[in-house]
């Protein structure tokens, strides 16, 4: 029998960064305790992990770093309840467990040669960051067509990864559009919800894939907008969230119809979702 799938790899918090003005999203850089764990933990963008704090429990989080960034993992975590509050109280050096990688990644094999439209809203942008880092890697970038990113937040101060976003906006090989629901004094970029920006920019659907992560309300308006731009159900890729425990398709908690989001997802095409009950 292989490794016990419930046993986390030992790691430590190496660094924490507050991501937003409301100070409720923190990025944690985790370093594995031993090289063996680091070597075994091989993830791809779109996958997630269960973070474990002994005595406090476990919870699932998307992996925000790309494997091309080297050993260690990034997670950007919003303080939402018991576990995440405990996590936010920890300082660098604190031990933490990591169980994974879990779930199906973004369909990497379908991306070469495609124009990529990446649409994100709120703190669900985490795994999209991993995807963008991977796509922009010098050994990778030439395999893909154009890359267009649309990322929205409530206010400018709620956008995560702001210095990275600014760097990407200076590059010629990726186009990054930021939008906020409510601008403040210095804001020079889009104002309005993500689907409105999408309709303004009108990216072409030919030879393109759209990868979308965001809260339900953003999805509700973004998906029809993509359809009217000509994106087929196969060309729209989404990542979903459901309450989870085991992360390996056993505890029976995260299903949508016959699919387990932890094991068969969290990444699905819109066509796959269309055949499932809308219970998410």
């Amino acid at each position: 029998m292989g490794r016990n799938p419930y046993l986390p790899y030992p790691a430590r918090i190496a660094e924490t960064v507050i991501e937003n003005e409301s100070r409720d999203i923190k990025t944690f850089r985790l370093a594995f305790e031993d090289p063996g764990s680091a070597a075994e933990f091989r993830h791809l963008p779109g996958q997630f992990a269960e973070l474990s704090l002994p005595g406090a429990g476990e919870a699932p989080f998307g992996i925000a770093s790309a494997p091309t960034e080297g050993d260690g993992l990034l997670f950007s975590i919003k303080r939402a309840g018991v576990f995440t509050a405990e996590l936010h109280s920890l300082e660098p050096g604190a031990p933490i467990g990591v169980r994974g990688p879990l779930g199906r990644p973004f369909p990497w094999e379908r991306m070469p040669g495609k124009n990529l439209l990446i649409v994100g809203g709120g703190f669900a942008f985490t795994t999209l960051r991993a995807l963008i880092k991977q796509l922009l890697h010098p050994a990778q970038r030439a395999h893909y067509g154009s890359i267009l990113v649309i990322y929205g937040a409530r206010t400018p101060g709620e956008l995560m990864y702001r210095s990275e976003l600014a760097e990407w906006q200076k590059r010629g090989d990726i186009s990054v559009h930021l939008t906020v629901d409510k601008a403040d004094g210095g804001w020079q970029q889009h104002v309005g919800v993500v689907p409105a920006v999408l309709e303004k920019l009108k990216p072409g659907a030919d030879g393109a894939l759209a990868i979308v992560c965001g809260p339900p309300i953003m999805l509700k308006f973004t998906l029809p907008a993509l359809a009217s731009l000509g994106f087929s159900e196969d060309a729209v890729i989404l990542s979903l969230e459901m309450r989870m425990k085991c992360g390996i398709g056993k505890c029976g908690r995260c299903n949508i119809g016959g699919k387990y989001v932890c094991k068969d997802g969290p990444v699905f095409t819109r066509r796959e979702l269309a055949s499932l009950p809308a219970e998410y």
Partner: protein
């Protein structure tokens, strides 16, 4: 498939031999006067003609509380205490079939559950064909039946003068080989008697002809029947906890350990997100999930309904919910 006869006089000596190798559990009358699986031997005699136990034997494989990991000196570790050899004698075929169904989830090859796997490996299952059906039994409508040996290492059929054993696994074949001196060849007359007894019980069952197709019908998901059912359901979880195939669990921490406990899709917290969003906000969606999981999603994923037709959820629901009604009305 080997078949052998054990005389009733040899039953206790045979169980005593199994007892030398591990714990033996067999049907007996408990303090409350109910027939249950009890550690053998007991002063009271074995009971072979009981209907079925109130509780299925799933706790032998998925304990209600099970420590997965311990926290020791700042480390999260597995402390595997040795799992004792256990023999379950006399569980009913529906409950044994439920184990074959649970195997699909916990021993799926892709990602085995090591805790379940250990208990399943160390536990030998000897099923006992039914002596009589209850009005709530419908095993034959979900691919099982009073003589179903799937999920058991041995199936026993109680005859006038003894037990006919039928091996269902390598482990079962081994048991018969070891007990050769206590066993006799199965005569054609004994095999005939066994078949007749099983047919007799099968004939007592009320079929639910649409059991494995109703929920796969177009429109079943949106049926108004779910609303009607949801208004009645109290969300108490009795149906799930007593179901031999329900296996959803929670994982929570105590200060020194991580524990897995039974959980239930009838509870609102089961799917509640930290944001407050709940994909199954009312009893309607939750009751639909329980039935859809068993009769549609499991069929899609495994080709069989995740129900053994034991009838426990029907017998024990405090507000008399009966899944057969929904299956019949949707399938009509």
């Amino acid at each position: 498939m080997t078949e052998k006869l054990l005389s009733l006089a040899n039953l206790d000596p045979w169980l005593a031999r199994l007892r030398e190798r591990g714990s033996v559990y067999a049907p007996g009358t408990d303090q409350a006067g109910e027939v249950a699986l009890r550690e053998w031997p007991q002063p009271e005699p074995l009971v072979l003609d009981y209907k079925n136990f109130r509780e299925p034997p799933k706790a032998f494989f998925l304990p209600r509380n099970q420590t997965l990991l311990y926290f020791r000196d700042g480390k999260t570790v597995e402390l595997n205490s040795a799992v004792p050899e256990t023999f379950l004698f006399g569980i009913r075929p529906c409950d044994a079939r439920a184990l074959a169904l649970l195997d699909r989830v916990f021993l799926d090859g892709d990602q085995n559950d090591p805790y379940y796997a250990r208990l399943r490996e160390k536990t030998t299952v000897i099923a006992l064909a039914c002596a009589q059906a209850m009005p709530s039994c419908f095993c034959a409508s979900v691919g099982s039946g009073p003589g179903d040996g799937s999920g058991a290492d041995l199936l026993a059929v109680a005859l006038e003068s003894g037990l006919l054993f039928r091996a269902g696994s390598g482990k079962g074949e081994g048991l018969l080989a070891e007990a050769a001196d206590l066993l006799a060849e199965a005569t054609p007359a004994a095999k005939r008697e066994a078949a007749e007894r099983i047919q007799g019980v099968t004939a007592q069952l009320t079929p639910v002809p649409t059991a494995d197709s109703a929920l796969r019908l177009r429109g079943s998901y949106d049926s108004p029947l779910w609303g009607t059912a949801g208004q009645k359901c109290l969300g108490c979880g009795t149906c799930s906890f007593l179901c031999p195939t329900c296996h959803c669990f929670d994982i929570t921490d105590e200060p020194d350990r991580r524990v897995r406990t039974w959980d239930c899709c009838a509870y609102p917290q089961f799917t509640l997100h930290a944001s407050g969003h709940n994909p199954r906000p009312t009893p309607k969606e939750r009751w639909r999930q329980r039935l859809m999981h068993k009769f549609r999603y499991a069929v899609e994923n495994f080709g069989v309904p995740f129900c053994a037709g034991c009838g426990r959820c029907i017998r024990n629901c405090p507000v008399s919910m009966d899944l057969r009604t929904v299956l019949k009305e949707l399938g009509a």
